[in-house]
Symmetry: C2
Subunit: 147 residues, 2 copies
């Protein structure tokens, strides 16, 4: 039996365009943090709008890939958070992309309704302008305020 060293993200960094690795080997190589998490950025796939930042453990990422619906790890509730399960504001996965050092994943999604628990289209509504923070969007009408 030939023993191969475990995959490193440096292998992907140096690889030519189109190179492929088994997903399991890459997930084994990710630098999950001390809580077993990586950061997950959700982006609307067609408009490019950045919707939110959340967290995923390996189980959440696996469920997201298997179900095609974004599932995060809720750090406050300490459980899987199936986005939109109660509100209907789901995120259908178009594609997931890991970053160069493997501690973040970009989720290209199709967002149903508002992404933010406040009912706003996205979570980044506090703009820093001229030494102040300004609220730049409002909750959508008739949106349920759970996420």
């Amino acid at each position: 039996m030939i023993r191969r060293p475990p995959l490193s993200l440096l292998d992907l960094e140096a690889a030519p365009l189109g190179s492929r690795w088994a997903l399991t080997a890459v997930l084994d190589a990710l630098p999950w943090n001390s809580d077993g998490l990586i950061a997950a950025i959700a982006q609307q796939h067609d408009s490019g709008e950045v919707l939110m930042l959340a967290w995923m453990n390996r189980q959440a990422l696996g469920e997201t890939l298997a179900s095609g619906q974004a599932c995060y790890w809720s750090r406050s509730r300490r459980c899987l958070w199936r986005k939109g399960e109660s509100s209907g504001h789901r995120q259908r996965l178009i594609e997931a992309r890991l970053d160069c050092d493997g501690d973040a994943v970009l989720l290209l999604v199709d967002q149903q309704g508002p992404a933010c628990h406040t009912g706003r289209p996205n979570c980044f509504y506090n703009a820093i302008r001229d030494g102040a923070v300004e609220v730049i969007s409002s909750p959508l009408k008739d949106s349920r305020h759970d996420s």
Copy 2:
């Protein structure tokens, strides 16, 4: 002297469009993590391309706002990381936006050259497709590989 309770991010959540607060009061209210950091997403302001995820402490965010050039906190080197200082691949800040719970900031930037230390345009080049991870972009030619 009237004592007011410290600002909470819940105040911003409930506020109408156009409400403004002093930046210092908002920064005091952010839930900086145990290392004093929040996550920072850099996005190309015009194309919407998500470039990278990095981290900021209060000093890095302050310098970014003051200088108009993205400055992060390097967790590996444990120092301020003035993006592009050695490579020239700077990020000119267009606008910074805090998220609903204040543990992430979206930086709309104008990226010079590649954003990724590998020389690729952005860091999210490892796409998960059909149970495998595929490298979907190449380093730009003649790009210096420091960041």
